[in-house]
């Protein structure tokens, strides 16, 4: 009988110790509060670190340690409400170093035989908010970069189309001016012999003054066209990212995936990233290559028909050819032959009604070409698509075969 009693005591001591360690070692800041009096009964180590106070100080200060004034009253009301709710609440708070931040807390009830306790977990989400905001800013920058790349292409092709005829105007005008100077001598001789006569409604006597003015007008106008076009080209050039950086494609992919995390989670629960270790670097612009990764992953995600369908992003080396391969595979809708032949064309999109611009792959392809790389597609309708981008390793940084 006595033995049995000891065993029970041992078991209860051990259960208590497990609970104590679970509470103490929990990474979330946990605080136990009395439902009736709103006084703090216990706080774990994470709570002490979060609020920069000892357990005793937290118990002594009570809810005042979390907030003050009207917010404190509201917090008390929340905690002592009939059924503590599980939905998370947020509030501003001042960190122990004086910095402002935001606290998220959840509470739930623990019913004991004689009392009701409220169990709260707190988390400082200030850094999370800032990080998300930085990512959003970078995403906006990328979208801007994408638009600028589109504008750049448009400007470059329009500039080329305008410059050609403008060159005719400029050079032919000079030639005509020279011809006129010679012809004028003959015409003037005719005038000396026969008196004044009209050409195009203007008397010859006025031509000596009018023609140089017309020639100057044409040549000045043509120069202005040339300057405007050059200005547009310079504007586009200044927006171009430098292509002489040393880039680790695995890092670019990791950053792009981090940036797209919420987008990825929205489309699939099955996205994996595999980067081989020790790959050589490539020469180019990490910003532009990130744009390519984002475009390709976005296409893969948008082709999926369900959250269980997978997207795989790989960065691997091709030892024989000293190239780095970026492979984006999806289990999406796939593409028909007809679509495959047009995907690189500007303004071609299968997603026009969903806001697609038809420029993603066109721009990606031109960025890849700038990096002296290639892009290829393998696709089977209803089974998926595999896109392979091959980029040359930076000279002197090739892999050992």
């Amino acid at each position: 009988m006595k033995k049995e009693c000891c065993r029970n005591e041992d078991a209860s001591a051990s259960a208590w110790e497990i609970f104590r360690q679970f509470f103490e070692q929990n990474e979330e800041a946990l605080v136990v509060i009395s439902h009736e009096t709103c006084s703090v009964i216990d706080a774990n180590g994470a709570a002490c670190r979060l609020f920069g106070s000892s357990r005793e100080e937290i118990i002594h200060s009570g809810l005042r340690i979390f907030c003050s004034g009207d917010e404190l009253e509201n917090l008390q009301r929340l905690i002592s409400s009939d059924v503590p709710v599980e939905r998370p609440y947020v509030m501003t708070y001042t960190r122990s170093d004086g910095a402002k931040s935001v606290l998220r807390f959840r509470s739930s009830a623990i019913r004991l035989p004689n009392s009701l306790l409220v169990y709260c977990s707190f988390r400082d989400i200030g850094d999370e908010i800032r990080l998300k905001e930085e990512n959003r800013f970078r995403r906006a920058q990328l979208i801007h970069a994408n638009k600028m790349a589109t504008l750049g292409m448009l400007v470059t092709s329009v500039a080329h189309e305008i410059n050609n005829p403008n060159n005719f105007i400029m050079h032919n005008n000079q030639l005509l001016a020279d011809v006129w100077n010679d012809a004028f001598l003959v015409l003037r001789e005719h005038y000396a012999q026969n008196g004044d006569y009209y050409l195009g409604g203007i008397p010859l006597s006025e031509f000596e003054e009018v023609i140089p003015r017309l020639v100057y007008g044409i040549s000045d106008g043509s120069k202005r066209i040339r300057n405007i076009v050059e200005g547009l080209r310079d504007f586009v050039r200044s927006d171009r990212a430098r292509l002489d950086g040393i880039v680790d494609l695995a890092v670019v992919v990791t950053e792009a995936v981090a940036l797209m995390r919420s987008e990825i989670d929205r489309h699939t629960g099955n996205c994996s990233v595999r980067c081989s270790k020790g790959l050589p670097r490539i020469r180019g612009s990490s910003q532009k290559l990130e744009q390519v990764v984002i475009n390709l992953v976005m296409n893969a995600l948008q082709s999926l028909t369900g959250r269980d369908k997978a997207v795989t992003i790989e960065v691997i080396g091709d030892a024989g050819k000293s190239e780095i391969l970026l492979v984006v595979s999806d289990e999406g809708e796939g593409m028909s032959e007809a679509v495959m032949t047009s995907i690189m064309e500007p303004f071609f999109s299968t997603k026009l009604e969903k806001g697609g611009t038809g420029l993603g792959l066109y721009i990606s392809n031109s960025i890849i070409r700038e990096h002296r790389g290639t892009i290829s597609f393998e696709s089977t309708p209803r089974l998926g698509t595999k896109v392979t981008v091959r980029l040359p390793a930076a000279p002197g940084m090739e892999m050992n075969a």
């Binding site: 939905r87 998370p88 947020v90 501003t92 402002k100 935001v102 908010i129």
Partner: protein
Amino acid sequence: MPKVLIVDDEPLIRTLLEQSLEEFAEHGVAILTAENGLEAVEIIERERPELVFLDVMMPKMNGFEVCDMVKKQLQMKDICIIMLTAKGQEQDRIKAEDSGIDFYITKPFSIREVIEKVTEILKIKL
């Protein structure tokens, strides 16, 4: 395009609210922000948002003054104003109703409640 204005002088809360309404932004709702009462009135006059989340304690012009200006002086009564306030006492509720506030959410607040209010007022199903 429906517009929602978030007014709070605390940048982290403003950003948190903006992030919480991101999904509405993807559904074509424009999310605008202001960091004080004066800026809020300017934006409300110019943009005429359908819904305003308004903090009370702010520099330059507090939430009650903003609400009074919008609802009474500018006669923009159809704009729904939700006050985000730590002041949850009875007299504050009366003051809030007097200045024409449509709803209020007390701080500490639940993000889910904010989302539910936007869904209800803009009648958008995510």
